[in-house]
């Protein structure tokens, strides 16, 4: 990684970041660099605007979402959280995963939107507690092995949430 997204927004690299600062600094950067500010400018200035605004968007999306932020933070510390060769998960979580997947499939088959929505709430509660753990292992203990495991869980939960929404969309 040659670019540090945290520094771009004037933040220290950490999982626990001030989202308000991230947001307000993102807006400040966009105010300076957005292509709307350079409609009548020279080609060279348009290019610089496009590059900076694009970078700011990419960086903002990375830091705004907890799973992306954790993954990025691990990468900055030389750990690749998700790769094809390393997908190990503890047995207990795998069992839990299968239960969620089955609940999703059952509700989908029963065309039960209310249950799907409940399941979504459950996943979000789970996500919240994983995030609390992440700030402990990433920021305080700097235990990247454990943090990697939690990050993978978080990414998995995000995927299930997306699939739940997809199922609801298809049923509606």
């Amino acid at each position: 990684m040659s670019q540090n997204y945290f520094a771009l927004f004037g933040l220290s690299p950490a999982f626990d970041i001030e989202l308000k600062t991230l947001e307000s600094n993102y807006r400040k950067i966009q105010s300076e660099s957005h292509p709307d500010r350079f409609v009548t400018a020279s080609a060279a200035e348009k290019l610089a605007s496009m590059q900076t605004a694009t970078l700011a968007n990419e960086a903002y999306q990375t830091l705004k979402y907890p799973a992306n932020r954790a993954k990025y933070l691990l990468e900055l510390n030389g750990v690749t959280a998700v790769s094809d060769s390393n997908t190990a998960m503890p047995m207990q979580f795998l069992m839990q995963q299968m239960e969620w997947r089955e609940a999703l499939e059952d509700a989908r088959a029963a065309k039960d939107i209310a249950t799907l929505e409940d399941l979504h709430h459950e996943m979000q509660a789970e996500s919240k507690s994983l995030q609390a753990n992440l700030s402990q292992f990433l920021d305080e203990k700097k235990d990247y092995a454990t943090a990697t495991e939690i990050t993978r869980k978080l990414i998995f939960i995000d995927k299930v949430c997306a699939d739940i929404y997809k199922a609801i969309e298809q049923l509606e």
Partner: protein, 636 residues
Amino acid sequence: MALLQISEPGMSAAPHQHRLAVGIDLGTTNSLVATVRSGMSTVLQDNFGHSLLPSVVRYSPNGEVIVGHEAQAQQSADPINTIISVKRFMGRSLNDITDRAHIPYHFVDGSSTDATKGDTSRILQIQTRAGLKSPVEISAEILKALKARAEKSLGGELVGAVITVPAYFDDAQRQATKDAARLAGLNVLRLLNEPTAAAVAYGLDNASEGTFVIYDLGGGTFDVSILRLSKGVFEVLATNGDSALGGDDFDHRIYCWVLDKVRESNAQLAPLSEEDTRLLLTKARQAKEWLTDNFEAQIVCRLSNGIVVDVTLTAQQLVEITQHLVTKTLSPTRKAMRDASLTIEEINGVVLVGGATRMPHIRQAVEDYFKQEPLTNLDPDKVVALGAAIQANILVGNKNDADLLLLDVTPLSLGLETMGGLVEKVIQRNSTLPIARAQEFTTYKDGQTAMSIHVVQGERELVSDCRSLARFELRGIPPMVAGAARIRVTFTVDADGLLSVSAREQSTGIEAHIEVKPSYGLSEDEITTMLKSSFNSAEADKKARMLAEARVSAGAIISSVKIALDVDGNLLSDTEKQAIEAEIARLETIALKDDDTAIHAAVDALNHATEAFAAARMNASVSRALAGKNLEDINL
């Protein structure tokens, strides 16, 4: 074409240099043009005091092209040569038009054989007495009429225009709209999403803060956008919609209902003529509008075969026959809410936009869903044009202290075809613009030296369910074993929501690179040719005009770079500064000669020479904005 003067961002134009810029709402049913005058956004009227220009184009027998009310009045008499709702056909092929049995035009399948274009290059055309016309050309006639209205009203040539498009328009529809504007001789400052434009007009008018839903049901398109308004920043959180659902569909339901009624008493009703179809559709639209304020509407007319239609449609019946259409708008609404991760309680206001939202049962459905009364204090027909005008005024630099910033999103996911006809998404829907994303792919055969790249847009997993945007081939890949090549495909979506794609092989030093901008129906050359012939002037005049334009652009960039050197010259070393000054001097010399090609080349050279300087200035201004943080110090 009008040329822009280049001003320093953040620096004021000379006080008396008010640049003429307009916002144009190119609607399915009606179009409008607005501008900011004395600080107020105003819709410009024609000589008769009409604000709305019906989006109707007639190719009349004497060769004249008639646009607007007059064309609308003639539509029943000459339906084949009078095109209404052309917006529905923008960027579309014949296969996309599912209800063409009810449309009285002679469609012709486009037959472009250009292999670099996607399936959408089979853009449909309409056979008129003036020849084959593409939707782009027909739309350009509407835009020309609005441009003429604006230039007459404002008393000068326009510097540029913001053209609005439905947020849910895909790349093909956006590109077609931009092509139409260029064909009409307009300098497109920006394509702006209609709900976002409405939010600007509404938000600024009411000094609103919070999270707002814009529910925009127009003549032929439905959009729903969710925006967060905060201190002049309009951030689109999610958008969704249906680019083939609108007030027209309600007319069509009434039309079908009337036909059923007529058949009850005339069992042997022959298929309707084109004139009768158009007549009944017009009556249907009038009945729909009447029922907004009345309990029943009488539909009376005489068909060409002598049959007299006389039926009464009640407001309740209208609700019954169109409720499924209203329900159809709620599904995209729910999707947008989910994508924005919002609950109904978090919505501070719902703004209704588009003439079709005048229908009481639509208002009721929106109110029931959001559990609050929707806001209708701005004219739903005008609010989009008013917002576009405000944005146009800011983009050309008339308002320098503008705090307004629009952060819009791409409505549909963009991806590539992979093995098995599956889509690999590269950019997800609702990503903030501008955006660039790269993904790596590899070869699947030993010694493979070319790769076919198929770009698609849509949410579905199968390529066949998505819209094909472009196909191109990357050639010159060095022969390697399967899976060894690294082909990096980069998608870039600019602030207009338009996509460009590039690909390069990067595992070896050898680079193959191709840049594709999907183009629909009209190639760059075709547009240029059409524009040139429309000047209708002698060769010498053309030359003079091109030379004048080249000199204007040379003068503009020279003064812009000189100002930049004055303000931020300290960012450069002496050598760097001298290099730029040398390019300025070169351009100044060349600009004195009568060679527009050479002048353009020198402008390009100066642009190129200032790229690093522009990037450094950008970093400096970002650093200043972040209170003293220096980007160069933070390892970017």
